[in-house]
């Protein structure tokens, strides 16, 4: 049995389940939309105020909190009826489980962003950034990989604890700060100044490095993280 086939089986199972129940996607989308409405009223202190330099921060804070909701739910289903035991009984490399779960979370985050970014643009962005769409998509993808890799690892560690709903944000939020800083900076530069790849190089490299560090860390530790 190849790891690739097992990866696809776990990912397919998670996608079928989520597309059937939609409990994770619906809660994440609702959260993101409500957060934007709240940001809109909270930050509009003056008519026609320029919020461009706040946009990156608003966007990424919203995505990270939305992902916290999703991560807890993505592992809750594995605890139901002891499905995790069923998964661990299979002759599957634990790292394959990590990559499949991370890929699932990444797909869900991208779906959320596909809904949220146009709404966000409508609410907050006055500058037309259509010409800078490619750098923005690269920032989204690199930051998402880091959020999902770290989030999946930490959600796995916290899932076996009694206070997992509390533990996951306590573990994730401090560690995700570097991604937040780099992604917020890059996004704001794109929205506010129309920055291109050359202007974003340092931030993109940082995000790439973060992704690599946590993917390698998960590779080395996931067997212990998902064990007893």
């Amino acid at each position: 049995m190849s790891g690739w086939a097992q990866f696809r089986a776990i990912l397919r199972k998670d996608l079928i389940r989520e597309l059937r129940t939609r409990d994770m996607l619906v809660s994440m989308i609702l959260f993101v939309l409500l957060a934007m409405v709240i940001f809109h009223y909270a930050f509009t202190v003056k008519e026609n105020a320029d919020l461009t330099y706040f946009t990156g921060g608003m966007l990424w804070v919203t995505f990270i909190f939305a992902m916290l909701l999703g991560l807890n739910r993505s592992f809750a289903q594995e605890k139901d009826e002891r499905c995790l035991d069923g998964l661990l009984l299979c002759p599957v490399d634990r790292v394959t489980i990590f990559f499949a779960k991370s890929a699932g979370n990444l797909i869900f985050l991208l779906i959320i962003q596909a809904v949220a970014v146009p709404v966000f643009t409508l609410f907050f962005i006055e500058h037309n950034y259509a010409g800078d769409l490619l750098p923005f998509l690269v920032v989204l993808l690199l930051a998402d990989v880091g959020i999902c890799a770290l989030g999946t690892l930490l959600a796995t560690i916290s899932m076996n604890t009694r206070s997992r709903d509390l533990l996951l944000p306590i573990l994730l939020l401090p560690l995700i700060v570097p991604v937040l800083i780099a992604a917020t900076g890059a996004t704001t530069l794109i929205f506010a100044e129309g920055a291109g790849f050359a202007d974003l190089a340092a931030r993109l490299l940082f995000l790439l490095g973060f992704d690599a560090v946590f993917l390698v860390a998960a590779w080395g530790t996931y067997d212990f993280a998902i064990g007893e």
């Binding site: 199972k13 009826e81 035991d85 009984l89 299979c90």
Partner: protein, 248 residues
């Protein structure tokens, strides 16, 4: 119970060997040096009071828990050093069905078939669903199944990949009489092909099915015998140990 190699000449090869199994959770030692073995095709029934360490033993054999000490081999492979072949060789039926409630019966079995690399996946799934009288619910989500139906599907999940060793943790728990009949019929059908370890409080079932009987109490083997003895005397010993265990 563990026989020396020279005494075992002509006997079936050992499928499970456990030597000095210890398991601790924090400071609490749950298993305190269990040793036993089981020949291929054998059926070991493990009894004992709640908290005696029966399920922990089963979970160590299933590679779900790592032993703190001891040497445990299943199907010739060390559970700690070489867990992948052990996982291919075992199936676990527990009172929790380990099924995804929002997937259909077919989707659950397809998922596990893919995880085990089952050849002839669709034919095998169809065969098992028919054998377990679940064909008519093939496309229904498991959430709509009764407890007995979920347990039958869990049996299909556990034997889908044709494991050599079946680990049964209170398999009759929560089953209605019809489901018990189907389950026992299936066990009888596959009895010759597998080695079994069953943890149970159901003394009648344990005695009926077991070729070896073992009572675990406070993490140690308190009593063991080959099947075929007097059921009444074993029952008396069991009740004595369960009462002692409950009093601890």
């Amino acid at each position: 119970m563990s026989d020396s190699p020279d005494r075992r000449e002509g006997a079936a090869p050992l499928e499970i060997e456990v030597e000095g199994l210890r398991k601790t959770f924090g400071r609490r030692e749950v298993l305190k040096g269990l040793s036993f073995s089981l020949e291929r095709g054998g059926f070991l029934s493990i009894f004992g009071p709640n908290g005696a360490g029966k399920t922990t033993t089963l979970r160590v054999l299933a590679t779900l828990l790592t032993p703190s000490a001891g040497r445990i081999t299943v199907a010739g492979h060390d559970v700690r050093e070489d867990p992948m072949p052990v996982r291919r060789a075992i199936g676990l039926i527990s009172h929790d069905p380990m099924l995804y409630l929002d997937l259909t019966a077919q989707e659950n079995l397809r998922f596990y078939a893919d995880m085990y690399g089952v050849e002839g996946r669709e034919a095998r799934i169809t065969e098992l669903l028919e054998r377990l009288e679940l064909s008519h619910r093939r496309y229904d989500v498991v959430r709509t199944f009764s407890k007995g139906m979920r347990q039958r599907l869990a049996i299909a999940r556990a034997i889908l990949h044709r494991p050599r060793v079946l680990l049964l943790d209170e398999p009759h728990s929560g089953l209605d009489p019809r489901a018990v009949d189907i389950f026992d019929g299936l066990l009888a059908d596959i009895r010759a092909e597998h080695t079994f370890v069953m943890v149970t409080h159901n003394i009648a079932k344990g005695l009926e099915l077991g070729t070896r009987l073992m009572i675990v109490e406070s993490g140690r083997i308190a009593y063991e015998q080959a099947a075929g003895g007097d059921p009444a005397s074993f029952t008396a010993v069991y009740r004595e140990h369960v009462q002692e265990g409950s009093a601890l």
